[in-house]
């Protein structure tokens, strides 16, 4: 005698079997919830910031991004750098510069340099040239109209004022001279 299987029992058995869920079900359900305005628990802007993005990068986009960054660096440095005084032009255009000769008679010197407001007081920036056969040192510098403090440095250590120019009170205990270029 064969006992026929009751369809209801068969259904019950089927329902008793464990439900096999797709691995991405949770993510899909949560995404659907997140996309449903009615289910949203956060404001839309907040959700927008918390959403995961997928950015596809191609070599072209990467290069474009790198170029953009390089452009920003260059632009930023150009826009925000402090005004740096060019060595040849303290103020004004080169057209308004006047060639100014500085001379020091120092037969005993092995080296003479010119330092002043026009070269950031850089001791090595403007060396004087010694004339052949004598102790006359000179250099010619283009200066824009203005008033400049300066001095000579002999042999890298000895500060000397210009005997041919007005002296000036110095804040640091060393001799200074001054030259005025007219036109400003």
């Amino acid at each position: 005698m064969t006992e026929s299987r009751d369809p209801l029992d068969s259904l019950i058995e089927t329902l008793k079997e464990p439900v096999r869920l797709r691995p991405d079900l949770t993510r899909r359900v949560m995404a659907a919830i997140a996309d449903d305005p009615a289910m949203a628990t956060e404001h839309k802007p907040v959700r927008w910031w918390r959403r995961e993005w997928t950015i596809r990068v191609t070599p072209v986009r990467l290069l474009a991004t790198a170029a953009g960054l390089a452009g920003l660096v260059v632009t930023g440095q150009f826009l925000f750098r402090p005004a740096v005084k060019p060595a040849s032009s303290v103020a004004g255009s080169e057209a308004s510069n006047r060639l100014t000769q500085f001379v020091l008679v120092a037969p005993e010197a092995a080296a003479v340099t010119l330092v002043g407001d026009f070269n950031d007081w850089n001791v090595g920036a403007t060396p004087l040239v010694r004339s052949v056969g004598d102790g006359v040192w000179s250099v010619t510098v283009p200066l824009a109209p203005g008033r400049y403090r300066y001095a000579f440095v002999v042999n890298g250590t000895v500060w000397r004022g210009d005997p041919e120019a007005p002296g000036l009170e110095d804040d640091f205990g060393q001799p200074n001279s001054v030259v005025t270029i007219g036109g400003a």
Partner: protein, 229 residues
């Protein structure tokens, strides 16, 4: 599907834009620009550099030229001065520039302010500089103020030098001032007393020096114009 792809593309664009914006902000913050003077790096020790940077920032806010302040700091560094002395010198110059700008007006050029500061240090008063501005309202003041300082440097008493510079201010060109200074310096080099050399050369200017005696003031014994009480 196409809509989703477009959305991803939009998000990618927005992401790149945000990334670039953040990168730009970081670069701006890292760039030694708005408040940093690169020429001071390596020339001034840190505490003094910070103090000088603060003075420069304040000067920028006040509309003062920072270049002479930087030059003064670099001068001190080149001469091996003590950091406190450098800061003190920059502070003093800042104060002088402020005084000169008040006297010369807010439109004064940096070169005028620098020359005015030299004149101030030579012994001119703020009132003297304001008077110079008044007498040469349409002329640059760089040379006139510089000549004033140079005359004092050559040994001319300060009030005498101020009087002479003001006396020729209304009519003299910059070239007249330069020639005047050169002649006085030459006379001094040849042995004349500074005051005598200046007096002789001032009289030699004739009409240039005559105008200031008219009007609301008179020239004193030294040639300096004195205001009516």
């Amino acid at each position: 599907m196409r809509q989703a792809s477009g959305r991803v593309g939009f998000l990618a664009t927005v992401g790149v834009a945000v990334f670039l914006l953040i990168a730009a902000l970081l670069l701006m913050a890292a760039t030694p620009a708005a408040g940093q003077e690169p020429r001071l790096a390596g020339r001034l020790p840190d505490p003094a550099r910070g103090q000088v940077e603060a003075l420069l920032s304040a000067a920028r806010v006040a509309g003062l030229p920072t270049e002479p302040l930087i030059d003064r700091a670099l001068e001190g560094a080149a001469k091996g001065a003590a950091p406190t002395l450098i800061v003190s010198a920059v502070t003093r110059l800042r104060d002088e520039l402020t005084t000169v700008r008040t006297a010369f007006g807010v439109t004064a050029a940096p070169a005028e302010l620098i020359a005015g500061a030299s004149a101030l240090r030579a012994g001119a008063s703020a009132d003297d500089l304001a008077r110079l501005r008044e007498l040469r309202s349409a002329e640059p003041l760089t040379v006139a103020a510089s000549v004033l300082a140079d005359l004092v440097a050559a040994g001319v008493p300060a009030d005498t030098a101020v009087g002479a510079v003001l006396a020729i201010a209304p009519n003299a060109a910059d070239g007249d001032y330069v020639a005047f200074r050169r002649n006085v310096q030459r006379d001094i080099a040849l042995g004349a007393s500074p005051a005598a050399a200046l007096g002789v050369r001032l009289r030699g200017l004739g009409e240039l020096a005559s105008t200031p005696t008219a009007g609301d003031g008179t020239l004193g014994a030294s040639g300096r114009k004195r205001q009516k009480p």
